[in-house]
Point group: C3
Chain length 671, copies 3
């Protein structure tokens, strides 16, 4: 439980004169800002020429903020190495998949695996940690900025060499790599690790294993860099460390945050796609369990750059975002950024104050959200988000598999968000969990879009099922080995065996006009599909293909009782409006089977974040779509803000309105 | 006439363990496979390190297949040189039009004109030919795989030097090149052959002659490579040699197959575009006259790669494909591929068995087609495809001209296929013939989309006309010289003179709202057009422009009687539904004039392949669109499978059904 | 006032044999051609090998033309350096933004800043000027061809070095650059000028200042090259010098033409976009005041290249173009080109004669336009275009700002053309003027899309207002400094202060559903917007936001009386049909306020070009859209061609028809 809620902004004091700084701090106080994030890109200010490191300015800023009651999150500036590191050194720069080296002047232009970059990053971080690591007001650290947001894998010579080492560590002998990747195909076979290329230009596609492994290598290396940086900071500072990450970047967030202390992320989802905003809350809450997460960046109104600008958020939406985030477990909610950039490529980006120090179009949003936060703070600090009963697997490793194998332009993030949005609409309190997460406390586990299931995951999921859990696996789950190859004993490997079925066919079902039937509903089926025949005792068909030529009569949904629970296979994706209804019916059915209680009855666009107090339940209700709606109160409750008594039954919620309802006891009955 | 029909698959035994091989061969027998194609990409298996060549495995495979009654087509593996050839040798690799060298790990990454590549290719092919060239069961050879499928012209240094030699051979003196290409334009003029660039990066378009000649150079060189490889094989083996080509690749199939022994090709057309499937049968039948062709690759259900997948064929369609192919002259019909790849980038591609050795969604298709082939075999072996009376010119050289000069994104293959599809729909038995093909036996010659007409072609076509043939030339025919320049005496050069007309204007007619009238029909005109005024005796207008400003009253179709025949000029493309009707009316009119008899009356989507027996005619009727239809039997016949008597008149054909009808005598009367 | 009107063609005699040349000259006479443009790309003809310069051919051509009564404009051939300059010298070639050097064979392949290129360009130009500079018949010079049409900024090593010098000249000390560009952002900071990169490859966007300054540098350098070339010519020839430029190219036309003697340009606008044709006449008339402009290239019917072709102009349209151009101030009207190219990449381009020397589809157009020119010549030579009362600012510098900062793909040329088209439709006689143009004679100044207002411009515009002018600034005007950064005192800098308002917010208003009200009309607002609150005495709101959340009640149009005139701010763009109406109402309102008299009442698609004679007015009326229309004659007049009396009131104009009306006195009353 937090001591307080943080309400923050990113600030770049090194870009402004003293007059602006005084003005800024005064206005921050006015608006209720209690934390700022600084230093992110300031390497050239800190070390204008090589080794001329001076951190006095930032020390003074932190002390000055502290004097005004504002805490600081200090950033390392490694996303933007100075010109003395990059000029004349193309070998230190990021190299794209065409083999082209980046130039100076943007971000992430250096290769984070370059030895000299690592040395200089360690040094500047050491100096920063020494200088500010124990200042009063310093409450945390952020490493770098948005790792791999602008770039994906680097193909420089440093990376080539590290790639060979990584492969040798993984495979030991080149023959093992050849066997695992099946390099006899197309005479790809390597005689030594030194010959294995990076996935650069080729006439046609590279081997799937090469493409996926290079992504895993790259993601491990950036986590390694983060770990090195964190270790350096920890030598000088006890403040917790995070990184402003995202599920949009080319990182393995699970690996990355293993070496960090708390979770944080950036999000710029549009108001019309609020599910893409909320999925973050339900994911990042679980990344570092027991430690609240932060929204490190979001826009006070709109985002923008020289080459784009988004639609400003409607009035009320930013407050709804803040309330939802805090209610779903956020400790910090921060804007990017405080004062509009005077120069550079993000001049058009939304901010709290303009470059001339006046309130922007987003200012009122920021003020409203601040007041809401003040109002909610005591209620939230006295409660914690309820643990969800339903968990959905999230995997950046799976994302890498889909990047290697998008088939018809499948996009992992989009697939996962759409799948998640159905749980959201159904009012099922849910969590997204990383592949390595423990399953204790859950009753229902959903694992869509996980091409490769690791033995560890399978074992854990199986134990979960044996103990009474229901695991819904699929679609597009289990069909690939960990080396991104095809199983050779059955289509879905060990998962298929456990499910007690035989996968009769796997094929791209789109365009074949195939219709599936399940739960009394019919729907067209889509995506690359696996269709089954139950084979083992206890396995049975739940959904069958009605037509579809040779596949007619085969199953696309099966279940099998295992121990006290069930393993459900979803082999295909019901699509369209009917498919949506079928999928929800499936979720509802197994939510019932699993005995889920944490499910609320709200109209679409309105969410409930249930929180547990000492002997009572708090519902934070927020309308996210601006259309207003209603929620069914399962029992009599109290408006926690006005103390008014509320009868059980329908409660109306206005456009972007939030309500806090207190119930005695558990309060959340399934409808 | 074939001894038998072949039904085959591509197989990669080098990728699997013994258990899988035994399983595979047993199932092949079960399914009726009587030929397999092996070795295609196996260079690294054959020669894992430089000079360590061992072909024992493939010898044993061929012997083993033979022992099971399965014949073999052996492939050379030169599409995928091993890592010892490519690693550290960017100068041996294919270079794209941006000047970027390809890396190892895909296919066609080496430059086929690189000297070392040629040397090593010759050596491995020599060893293979020596080792397997006389094994029983070896019935043929396939060179490489799909030349120039993934790449087009290479721009490496080796090619640059060969290009200069090629130019010197062609032009002798640089001044002749300068004159022919008109390089005084834009000061392109070269002082020596060494200065002539490859068509790489430039601020705007290159000279048309340069672009087209570089394509011709590239196509000649790949034919030269094929010729060298074939010669090497012939030193050791008498089995006939082919290549699995396509009209989609960057090759000159006419030149390529001059050095080979039989024609074969790959096709993955979708069921909804069955004309794109059938055009191959009607083309490849004529490429090596007197020798039946092979479909070397087609999908048992769907194609796929990491980044794409097609729609599975509807049930019954693959059988229809096989029946149509055999009936139209195929000796072999082969699938790609037998067993799903476990690794690499084509894991999602359809196959007969899955990677775990079970029947796939396409298996039933393969079985049905096998039964049909068994049923048809005696009937087809006793007959031969009737020679068509209508021939349509096909030219990969023309394709190169259109790639240089696409105007508004004109695509030669698409243009030709759409033009062809009208003959198909009209039931005109037809053949596509290469530019150099003899015209004996034809009554009607259609030559659309041939920008440059060679003197040899013109002379042959003229003789054909003099002897009574009707030649319909155009649209987009004759307007360029062989050097890809404009004629300077008249728009269409010698063709125009022969046609006895004057081309008054050539211009892009689309968007001008011009309407043409011919055969009592009106239709909008499209494409780059030539409009005429008859000038010489015997020349007359057949179609005129109704409006169109200055072009009103001019002709877009003319004809001229020459000797016993006629030369028809089609200067513009009638477009839309009305244009389609006009074009068919034109074809029907001249089919009548030419006295075509081989025309059948079938509903759209159903085709008839007429074959000649000893004193009788066989019609193989196939429904290709799944909608079923009917065919008018011109006289009483017999169902060749059931021996039932069939009256003249309408015969109904079910969805994807085939029927074999035997008629006494000639049997095909024009309706 | 011109001695005569010129009617010309581009001609490439170096590409043809003597027979063609004689034929060409005879036909030119026939058609009324009285000037030809030669030599444009003929460097390799003039200097086939290095230093072997021979200009005899061109001397003879000019003399021969002169003997036939045809004048010549001689071109320098520097757009196409010969192979001896480019071969083996990638360092002399243009380098694109990916760092790739261009090859020989197209145009503009050399870097115009390369030292050797400059040397050789100076030399060949010197020789040409010496040889032909004083020949009778030589009436003018054209430098190079379409500077920067195919390429934008060059990123070669020569340019890098010159860029550093340019920056040093501009900023003196690197710290000044750092401050002005705000390079503390993202640690871009440079320690010396040598470190400042060109805007090449980077992971994300470059600094706005870097991108814009590099464009200004490039545009200054090409103007410098033009200046050097002009100086060389002037040493040998008194004939005036121009360049065939365009607002589509990457040049600063204002700077470029400062060093030249008369304005000319190329245009290939389609007939359906005739505003894009006419905007040129209204712009280029003012570029070199007092000197008539030339249309140096336009198509006789259609344009084309190997990869494109346009729709042929409808019959009558080319004549309408010629009449409009001459009436709006053109002295010359020239086609590209006379005879269709036999070779190269522009074979499909429209011309007057075909490659075989016959009239093309455009020939009739050329003949009709020639007759119209003959008919108009005496009338036009006796009059001059009336000076417009309404001026609209045009700035290639602004274009550079938009290229750096397109936000949602804003395109300066498209924005300006659409804005201009409203003045055209409203019959307001108008001129486009460069930023540096004097404002004498104008009553209304429109300055849309000028992100950065220079102090000089502001001062001149302010003086204009004080003297009674009305200045409408915006939208998207004034929001950036000259360094492409944000103002820090207020949103619009000094402009805002003068307008007496406060910009309350700036933000992207699209998608917010915001509606503005002004002049009794309502319209949706779009584009990046600034919304105001009048603050100073005399400032008042003219248009307010009706809804729009926090911006409701703020102004998007304000005006302030300053001296005898007014400064109007337009902060947002009214969009859609309603927005179009509102904008026209705004223009009409301030046209009235400003006392504009030069406004004609014509139906849409018909224009009036008013000209001043000695005591009389001439209206040249042209229907440009082919639909015909009518014009209200404000008073009785005379048909200047037939001498018929015409009553005041409606005069009908046929499709593409032109009429010349003579009025006594001023003649143009506002309706």
């Amino acid at each position: 439980m937090s001591r307080k809620l943080y309400y923050g902004v990113a600030w770049y004091p090194e870009l402004w004169e003293e007059e602006a700084l005084a003005h800024d701090i005064a206005w921050m106080k006015e608006v209720g800002i209690n934390v700022v994030r600084i230093g992110e890109f300031a390497w050239s200010t800190m070390e204008p020429s090589e080794n001329a490191i001076d951190l006095t300015f930032f020390v003074q800023i932190i002390e000055r903020l502290h004097a005004h009651g504002i805490d600081t999150i200090m950033c390392t500036p490694t996303a933007t190495p100075p010109i003395w590191l990059s000029h004349g050194h193309p070998e230190r720069m990021h190299v794209n998949e065409r083999g082209e080296a980046m130039g100076h002047g943007s971000r992430q232009h250096a290769c984070t695996n370059n030895g000299y970059f690592r040395t200089r990053s360690a040094l500047i971080t050491k100096h920063i940690a020494e200088a500010v690591g124990n200042l009063p007001g310093l409450i945390g650290w952020q490493l770098d900025n948005e790792f791999k947001a602008h770039v994906s894998e680097c193909l420089c010579e440093s990376c080539l060499s590290l790639w060979h080492n990584w492969l040798e560590d993984r495979y030991g002998r080149i023959e093992r790599l050849n066997e695992n990747w099946g390099t006899a195909i197309w005479s790809q076979r390597y005689e030594s690790f030194e010959q294995v290329p990076q996935p650069g230009l080729a006439p046609f596609l590279h081997n799937a294993s090469l493409k996926t492994m290079y992504q895993l290598f790259s993601m491990e290396k950036i986590a390694e860099f983060a770990g090195e940086q964190a270790a350096m900071i920890r030598s000088y500072s006890a403040a917790p460390i995070t990184h402003n990450s995202s599920i949009a970047f080319h990182v393995d967030n699970e690996k990355l945050f293993q070496g960090l202390d708390f979770a944080s992320y950036d999000t710029y989802a549009s108001a019309s796609n609020y599910a893409a905003y909320l999925i973050n809350c339900d994911l990042w809450r679980t990344v570092k369990r027991g430690t609240p997460f932060w929204i490190m960046e979001t826009s006070p109104s709109f985002s923008g750059s020289l080459e784009s600008c988004s639609v400003p958020h409607p009035g009320g939406y930013v407050r709804a975002e803040a309330v939802a985030a805090y209610a779903l477990g956020a400790e910090g909610f921060c804007y990017w950024h405080w004062r509009q950039h005077r120069t550079g490529c993000e001049q058009p980006h939304g901010s709290v104050l303009s470059a001339w120090g006046k309130p922007t179009i987003g200012f009122k949003n920021v003020l409203e959200a601040s007041l809401a936060k003040e109002e909610l703070e005591p209620l939230l600090l006295a409660t914690v988000p309820m643990q969800a009963e339903a968990a959905m697997t999230y995997s950046d490793r799976a994302k890498a598999f889909f990047r290697t194998e998008p088939l018809r332009k499948l996009n992992y993030r989009g697939l996962v968000t759409e799948y998640y949005s159905r749980l959201l609409e159904m009012g099922i309190h849910r969590e997204l969990i990383m592949e390595g997460a423990e399953l204790r406390g859950y009753k229902l586990l959903l694992t869509p879009f996980l091409p490769s299931i690791s033995p560890v995951f399978l074992e854990r999921a199986l134990a979960f099922v044996r103990n009474g859990g229901i695991w819904i696996a699929g679609p597009l789950t289990g069909g690939r080995t960990e080396e991104h190859t095809i199983h050779t004993n059955e289509a879905l490997g060990q998962l298929e065996k456990l499910a007690g079925v035989e996968t009769v066919y796997t094929y791209p079902i789109d365009g074949t006009g195939t219709v599936g039937q399940a739960f009394g509903l019919s729907a067209s089926l889509g995506m690359w599909s696996a269709v089954f025949e139950p084979r083992e005792p206890g396995a049975k068909s739940i959904g069958k293909i009605r037509n579809g030529g040779v596949a007619a009569g085969l199953s696309f949904i099966t279940e099998r009782a295992i121990g006290k629970g069930k393993l459900v296979l979803l082999g295909s994706m019901p699509v369209g409006e009917d498919g949506d209804a079928m999928l929800k019916r499936l979720f509802a059915y197994y939510a019932g089977e699993a005995g889920l209680k944490l499910r609320t009855d709200a109209t679409s666009g309105t969410i409930v974040a249930p929180r547990q107090g000492d002997g009572y339940t708090l519902w934070v209700i927020v309308n996210m779509d601006g259309a207003g709606g209603s929620v069914t109160l399962p029992q009599e409750g109290t408006d926690a803000l006005t103390q008014a008594r509320l009868a059980a039954g329908q409660l109306t919620v206005g456009s972007y309105e939030y309500r806090i309802i207190r119930f005695a006891g558990d309060g959340c009955e399934p409808r």
